[in-house]
Symmetry: C3
């Protein structure tokens, strides 16, 4: 411990010059000169040497260059924090390392003693809530917050996960599936859906400052949207507001969404990038502003990014609100077009594992397509949400254009569902004929083809329609594949008939 | 109507401040202070509130910040408009809403009375022609302008479209195809090729200013390159010059082309992006100039984008012309490498549905590969075009390098055609043996494999060769797929032989 | 010849103005005013007209705006050239056309007389070595430098190349493979691996200045990493430092690596771009500095690019070295995760064709997975390299995070190898049963499936794990494909059992 203190002291001295020159550049983003808490200064003193990347990232952030009492005093539309008040201790200093990593320590099983400070390893949504209360509450109601449970508490989804990611061995002409390992689930499905992070105990690690003891946590690294944190909260704000700049610019750019919303199962990013919107974004975004609040359509940006349509506060030049900010990303959507056999109205509750369909399964439709309507939003709510979305479209497009677009989209949803229903009939015939075993509907060749029909191809066509990316409606996992995949299924189940 | 007038007045008053501050920033791109017509001012007054995105987009455009009489007075190489003269009424004001949306109203079936102005919903190439006469004439001769007819007036292409995008239902072990719906064609093939936009009548729509009557047009939204407009003209300039900035910068960046020219059927953008040219573009384009006319190679850009090779006016620093501008995008090409069974010389006429091959089909080759030479450019013309393209390459590459490149490309074209010929022989054997039914050559499993051989894999290798993207010549839809796909066909048609 | 001289003179006069205005902008990047050699001025005088792109590219480069004697006088960490001294003739002038294209002319079989100067067509690593000695030596030890021999001197790899890229013809229900042509190998596998460039003789080419004689070289264009040059050296620096800006910025951006390291066989770029690192890069790189030496983590960049982890000199703000520069790109890697059947420790020698496994084949493992350990780095070296890599991670991540990450990665490597072993057992059964012919293990349908298991899917999962891109561990060539591809193999080899 003595050795550590000496090192610590030495670093303090040698780093004075750098540290001060760094403080001098503060205040660029905030309205007043900004001071750091003593605890945060202590963190920085070491970490600017030992983890320089995150310290520098934070230093350029709004958190480092403003203080909550200024942030809270802005006019309503310009506010970036939604709390009514910020506790005295936090209000007057920058939002630094210690301000975030020390909150609600009693709830944090990952809290530990670190050079005389009590530090939480993970900053959870419940911690961010101290300033961003509305955002955390909205997020908490979303499907995203429950993304882990929506997989692992749903036996159908779990079976799909296990069938795909389980280890296969072969013996005597028979493939056996075991597992999957926690590790593999964590870096496939749970990488986006989130893991459960729990305290196993403490562990000793060797550092340049000597051995230190730190919490030993399960299932990390992970920043999945439905991560269960050691304080019991759900979600990871850093999934989109990447560490440690927590930047609204980054979250508003489509690259953030591309971490999870990618082909073949969720080609949102791919379709966007090939759409007219994506083309304009890629060609012109360097002239746009991504950090203004509120976000003024036309002035700050000329074509929507994911955030503009799905969660940002968007206004016109007069300051009239076109869309309010919402961190429940499903709240502006009326229909759900991916991840399940058929499209269906958005679920009422973010916890989709609570759904029960007519067959008693936690799915929004039966395999035949019957809706579990009690768990899904009704027509009135669907129309309300569609109308709200159309308002965003009309910031650039005429009413006729907008109506034409959604008429087309609705027809496409119906047609893709019908194509998938055809594939389900063929699969059911395969089960009936005993060609494959129905027990696990996810593990044989023809079942894989059927999964592709809805998880990849039906999906792609709907996304391509929703955002006008014709490659994904046509040849890239689109109608070409919907059709040729069906013909493959046909050739297996009804080989002699045509 | 009274209620609308009042709203209108109220908006006029409240928006004065914003509108004036906006006018003050005019003239940045133009050489003189720019005034708007009264009609355009009236449009903006409402639309800056109700469709702020497109108004702001236009305000930043060259159209809003210059006047035709200045544009027309530039030295020949610097001119952005090709008309000899511009009519008195248009010459002295910015090219605003009304200037474009009111032209040739007698021809526009989509013209309607909108708050006392006669407005065309769609601005067509024939309208743009008033200033951009040469560009519209060139475009009118291109395959792009006829892209819709080239599909729907060609029974072979139409059968392919219908086979892929038609709705499939299954009954008694038999798949039946019906349709496809107009909607699905519009958002798959016709999304790029264009739709026919016709007037159905008028319709009433509810707006914030009360009910208004607007034309009810078929098959919109669409901005396909071969769109047939309500004034009878063909094409959509906005396919590439995106609304409402109509920007040369956007059109010169490869993202624009990526809307349609994408893998698996036309991997032009994908190959470009992975090529050395694309790498240099992605790494350095922020230091380049995309809005200069003429475009000076080396000074304005260090590696070509799609536009540099295929349609822009490119000069060297001395002002010597390397390539003239041409909006017939095929005019610099000698060989056609995608979309059809075999490569072939470019067609003489943009209307490819007029071709008749030896089998009487409107295809540039027979299924066996015989050229419909009467309809295709001859060797002299091919060599002339190749020589012109080589001149562009030589702006950076040596004569030896350039010749080596095209020698390689020609060999690759020949080899891919030979691989496809092999696949056609296998398919013909399948037809002969009665394994599949020849009647529709596009609807059975082995036929789908055959289509992939030429529509995806032969294509990809040729594009990969043309622009040096080795992933697409090798493992990404390249020789790997040309070969493994052929082996799949073999295993079906000659299962016991090897 | 007279005609040429006259043209030459005319150009000289007319270009004076342009040329001088160009010289005036020199010196931006260098510390002193920079002069060009007379020979280089002569080159530019013509080539700024005849190949303006590369001249302008060079003019913006550091080579054109600094002189070696200044470059060599920088403090050690800031030095961009590693030679101890630079010969008198080169030290005081810009690194221009002639300075590079005239070096070591006696070794250059591509040297020729060009308007009274002796010019090498190709500038080889051995020429660059005059200033960049350490980089060339490191590179010379790498697998990259030997990438051509590693394919064509390895009979197993050669058989794979030939099987894929050979021309297939069909006769009597039998597919015959011939070739492949040099041309096709050059633009598929050898496009990245490099070609052998040899002198065939001289050839006459027609130029605007009359006929000239130039060397006739084989297998060009090519800039593959293992190119064998006409001076006998190996490699092409321009593969990454693109002509003629030779820019460190370009080499540090991931687009450069994307030319070769792409899905499906090497999805490094794809995984990076969808990872959190890639997201941050895409969102923020415009605020980063890509041309500083040394590269300061946090200050110059907030998330790594390929170069940061794999070859750049990276320091913290104090100037403490986190990673030394190394142009042997494998030198920081302990495990090899792509291109071969199973993962394995990095080879000791860049010439992998020298390996002999227990079956006598030049592969790092047997088909069953036994390591050729004598040729591979040992545990101590593996751990040393892993520890070095972890140091880079810890510039932003905690020790726990970093250890967790690599524990996960190691488990994934083991699991993917096990899945591939399962596929190999199935293939071996197919061979045993006589379903397919073992003689060429790369040419029949089930063999193609087996290749995909390791060359595409095992790979993708490992890359997805290494850089945290969950699409590639899951649905995009990931576990989904590992599993469904295995089931396809099962359905062929054990059709009746399940």
């Amino acid at each position: 411990m003595k050795k550590i203190t000496i090192c610590f002291f030495f670093i303090s001295i040698t780093s004075l010059f750098f540290f001060h020159s760094l403080s001098a550049t503060n205040g660029e983003k905030g309205s007043t000169s900004v001071s750091f808490s003593k605890e945060t200064e202590a963190c920085i003193e070491c970490h600017r040497i030992y983890s320089p990347g995150i310290v520098a990232d934070w230093q350029k952030s709004r958190h480092a260059t403003t203080v909550p009492k200024d942030a809270i005093s802005k006019p309503a539309l310009q506010r970036r924090i939604s709390a009514e008040a910020v506790s005295q201790g936090l209000a007057g200093v920058a939002v630094g390392c210690y301000e975030c990593h020390s909150l609600n320590s009693e709830a944090h099983k990952d809290n530990f003693d670190h050079f005389d400070l009590k530090i939480n390893v993970i900053v959870s949504p419940n911690d961010c809530k101290i300033c961003h209360v509305r955002e955390v509450e909205e997020y908490g109601r979303s499907k995203k917050a429950h993304a882990l449970s929506n997989l692992d508490k749903n036996p159908v989804c779990s079976l799909l996960v296990d069938s795909i990611t389980g280890m296969k061995t072969v013996k005597g002409g028979r493939i056996t599936t075991s597992g999957p390992s926690e590790n593999t689930k964590n870096e496939t499905c749970y990488a986006c859906h989130g893991t459960e992070v729990k305290l196993k105990g403490m562990k000793k690690i060797a550092t340049d400052l000597g051995d230190i003891e730190v919490p030993d946590l399960t299932n990390l690294p992970n920043h999945g949207v439905g991560r269960v944190n050691p304080d019991g909260s759900r979600g990871a704000c850093s999934a989109c507001h990447a560490r440690h700049s927590f930047s609204i610019e980054v979250a508003r750019k489509p690259y953030t969404c591309s971490q999870c919303h990618l082909e073949p199962d969720i080609p949102a990013y791919n379709v966007y990038m090939e759409s007219k919107h994506g083309n304009i974004f890629s060609s012109q975004y360097q002239q746009w502003k991504f950090d203004t609040v509120p976000w003024v359509v036309g002035k700050d940006f000329n074509a929507p990014t994911c955030a503009a349509c799905h969660n940002s506060l968007v206004v016109n030049e007069n300051g009239d609100v076109i869309q309010n900010r919402n961190h429940d990303f499903g709240s502006r959507l009326w229909v759900r077009i991916f991840g399940l056999i058929y499209s269906h109205p958005q679920p009422k509750d973010g916890r989709t594992y609570l759904i029960k369909n007519k067959d008693g399964l936690p799915l929004p439709t039966t395999f035949g397509g019957d809706l579990a309507s009690d768990y899904l939003i009704d027509k009135v709510e669907q129309e309300k949400r569609l109308a709200a979305m159309e308002k965003t479209c009309r910031a650039c497009h005429s009413r006729s254009w907008t109506e034409g677009h959604f008429t087309k989209f609705n027809l496409t949803i119906a047609e893709t569902d019908k194509m998938i229903a055809t594939s389900t009939i063929i699969l059911a015939d395969a089960w009936k004929k005993g060609l494959v075993n129905k027990k696990n509907p996810f593990d044989e060749k023809i079942e894989h083809l059927w999964i592709k029909e809805w998880l990849f191809y039906g999906n792609s066509v709907r996304y391509g329609s929703a955002m006008s990316g014709p490659d994904y409606t046509a040849f890239k996992n689109g109608w070409w594949d919907l059709t040729t995949n069906l013909e493959k299924m046909r050739s297996i189940v009804y080989p002699s008939k045509k």
